[in-house]
């Protein structure tokens, strides 16, 4: 391990210099994916399991490609075709996979803290690929990587995060990372989705999107799930769009060189107008490309190099 942690459970556990190390390491991996032969032998002989209990396109594919481009063997596990549907517990599932001598588990689970729970009994490296409404550290790292690529820095930037903050693991990890790296964060959305307790993270809360957008360097839009409306978090999609959707007119309030980000999947014309999603200011597909490099960096930093004593 080159990183002093055995697992990547969350941004919470990382300090600014570790975050910088990951981002700098990812720079060097970006080029690998652009080569004719997209493969380096760094993790040859390592076995990695993609343990996904929730549906995912981007994250699962991104980890799979990252592992393959580092020459690791990767096993894809999905909930529907597994014994989980027969009622096997998470602990038993993991212990059985581990009995096959694996090196790392990439965990996506609907329960917050599931990767932390696994780490209490598992010998392998655990990488959190999204746990419930808690954290999604690799997404925050790839977002930070993308922002640095565009803005050359993180410190001092104004980042506005808009939408369903309370249910978003992407928002939590991004807020933690951006605050650690000295960016200013403003959260915007209806109060039912953006509770005031978020101020304890050191972010500002503004329920008015126009005001929030003033002087923004980065606008991060979150997916709004239609089921939230059924639970009355907001009255109707129509009203949500009128108050919180990013339109070209609203976006003009941000800085001239501001960028638009979205962790995907997008609801076109809901949180983000199609025009903006496809515009030159949108870095949504760059986020996806960078995701592979960042995940290669994380796998390399956790599994590669000389083994050291576990420190956590």
């Amino acid at each position: 391990m080159i990183l002093k942690h055995k697992h990547l459970l969350g941004i919470e556990q990382l300090n600014p210099s570790e975050i910088s190390t990951i981002l700098e390491t990812a720079e060097s991996f970006l080029e690998v994916s652009r080569r004719e032969v997209k493969k380096v032998p760094i993790l040859r002989g390592k076995t990695i399991v993609n343990l996904f209990f929730e549906p995912s396109t981007r994250t699962r594919s991104s980890f799979e490609l990252a592992a393959k481009r580092l020459s690791a063997d990767i096993l894809n596990f999905s909930r529907v075709s597994s014994s989980v549907v027969k009622g096997e517990t998470l602990k038993d599932t993991v212990l059985n996979l581990e009995a096959m001598n694996i090196d790392a588990l990439i965990v996506r689970h609907s329960a917050s803290g599931a990767p932390h729970f696994i780490s209490t009994f598992c010998r392998s490296h655990i990488i959190n690929a999204g746990d419930g409404t808690h954290e999604h550290p690799t997404q925050a790292l790839l977002d930070a990587f993308t922002i640095r690529q565009e803005k050359k820095r993180l410190r001092g930037l104004k980042v506005v995060i808009v939408g369903d903050i309370i249910h978003s693991r992407v928002a939590r990890s991004n807020i933690l990372l951006l605050r650690k790296m000295g960016a200013k964060v403003v959260c915007c959305g209806p109060p039912s989705l953006v509770p005031l307790e978020f101020r304890t993270y050191g972010v500002d809360i503004n329920y008015n999107l126009d005001e929030a957008l003033k002087g923004a360097d980065v606008v991060m839009m979150l997916r709004i799930q239609l089921e939230r409306q059924k639970k009355n978090f907001f009255p109707s999609l129509r009203e949500y769009i009128s108050l919180f959707a990013l339109t070209p007119q609203r976006f003009s309030l941000a800085k001239k060189d501001a960028i638009i980000m979205h962790p995907g999947p997008i609801n076109r014309c809901v949180e983000l107008s199609a025009e903006l999603a496809d515009s030159a200011r949108s870095v949504i597909l760059k986020q996806v490309e960078n995701g592979v490099a960042v995940r290669m960096a994380i796998l390399y930093l956790l599994l590669g190099g000389k083994e050291r004593e576990d420190t956590d």
Binding site: T89, A111, S112, G113, G132, H134, R172, E197, T200
Partner: protein
């Protein structure tokens, strides 16, 4: 058989005794209580370095039998109680089947008699099947031995049903014990709602979910004039409502738990399912308010809400784990160590909270009191005994105890029920 307990520091809050006295027990009763008793025919216990209190009463436990014997049985729960210094326990009706009829009440009493350890007082359901819709045959249940009524674990959501239950129990001179929770507001929450639920990404249960029902129940007590006991009170807001009720002379009493007094929501950081309880562990501000309420009398009793779950059930994701933790064998040590030794409350006050008041609330006339003629239920405590709480040695069938591994000072060393020594660590 006579027992003479000599030279103990005898504490009886009801009669104001805190003195070195001898106690003579015969035929299950206290027959003498004075500075110096000499008799040659009694088994003599040297209590000169011990505290002697009226037997502790845990008015809120789950014994899981019938139906969930893999979690706990009446016998294992009764032994856990004895080892924790409790001489009486009142068990909640959420068994399988539910204790909503005479047959189950009698079965529980029969099992308790077979176990032949502590006194077990069944609490019967308020509504059939705990469904909150139809009242149980309360008079029949009371005649069979039900000491009080509760749908604990589930709220009685209908205010009308709660009103009728309160009215009816007034005739019986019995008691309603309510688990206060507004279920739509608590919904699928798993921990206290606030800063920490947000950080851990766990769904929150707001304090208001408890307080709305506490307020409703207090107003129904005002309407009906019937006594009401509030189970496991956990929030500052609930305490303010109880203060209002008491200031208005309403017959409302309240309990809290050792875990709500000693643990907070912030500790859930590592997703330890042994911190998952309902009501949830609250904020530090709530905890401080509970400690204050112990001192000022807003809280009348401490009960463990002993809720055993098998290790496999708790060894899962936080969201999946059942609510509840065990407390019978840890309560007295942690309360002595963290409240009495730290001078938050006096030892006398702790005895009030664990014995005098539960006996009064449950109308156990000959218990919770040391006087000639009272039941010979006594707990002998060694205050200076340092030890570590080792759950692997607990008598309970379950291990879901958040106090596991705590180093504490003070424990029960002998438990006497009906004049019989049922548990002792003292040399013979």
């Amino acid at each position: 058989m006579k027992i003479l307990i000599k030279n103990g520091r005898v504490i009886d809050p009801l009669s104001g005794i805190d003195d070195t006295l001898d106690i003579l027990i015969k035929d299950g009763q206290i027959v003498e209580l004075k500075p110096k008793i000499d008799t040659s025919e009694a088994r003599t216990i040297d209590a000169s370095r011990l505290v002697v209190t009226p037997g502790l009463i845990d008015m809120h436990v789950h014994l899981r039998e019938p139906g969930y014997e893999y979690k706990e049985t009446i016998a294992s729960g009764a032994l856990a109680a004895a080892r924790g210094g409790f001489t009486s326990i009142a068990c909640m009706p959420n068994t399988l089947p539910v204790n909503d009829n005479r047959g189950i009440t009698e079965f529980i009493l029969g099992q308790a008699k077979k176990a032949n350890l502590v006194n077990v007082f069944p609490i019967a359901a308020i509504t059939k099947g705990l469904q909150g819709k139809e009242l149980t045959d309360m008079a029949d249940l009371q005649a069979a031995g039900a000491i009080a009524f509760s749908d604990d674990g589930r709220p009685v959501t209908s205010s009308l049903i709660m009103r009728r239950a309160l009215e009816y129990t007034r005739m019986l001179e019995s008691l309603i014990i309510d688990h206060c929770e507004e279920p739509e507001l608590s919904a699928d929450g798993v921990m206290n709602e606030g800063e920490w639920s947000l950080k851990f990404g766990l769904r929150g249960i707001p304090a208001a979910a408890e307080e709305i029902m506490v307020a409703r129940d207090i107003l129904l007590t005002k309407l009906t004039g019937s006594p009401l006991h509030l189970a496991h009170v956990s929030t500052r807001g609930s305490l303010e409502l109880i203060r209002w009720a008491k200031a208005n002379q309403l017959p409302v009493t309240a309990e809290t738990t050792p875990h709500h007094l000693l643990l907070t929501d912030k500790m859930i950081a590592n997703y330890d399912t042994n911190l998952k309880v309902n009501p949830p562990l609250r904020s530090e501000a709530d905890r401080a308010a509970l400690l204050q309420a112990l001192q000022d009398g807003t809280i009348d009793a401490i009960a463990t809400d002993h809720a055993p779950h098998a290790p496999d059930e708790k060894d899962v994701e936080f969201d999946q784990a059942p609510f509840g933790i065990i407390g019978l064998e840890s309560a007295l040590p942690v309360l002595l160590d963290r409240l009495v030794q730290k001078k938050i409350i006096t030892l006398n006050r702790l005895v009030e909270l664990l014995s005098t008041n539960p006996a009064r609330i449950l109308r156990l006339k000959n218990k919770g009191h040391l006087r000639v003629g009272a039941d010979a239920d006594l707990t002998l405590i060694q205050l200076q005994k340092k030890h570590t709480l080792d759950v692997s040695r607990f008598a309970s069938r379950s291990r879901n105890c958040p106090f596991a591994g705590w180093s504490v000072k003070g424990m029960a060393v002998m438990t006497i029920v009906g004049g019989r020594i049922i548990y002792s660590t003292l040399p013979q």
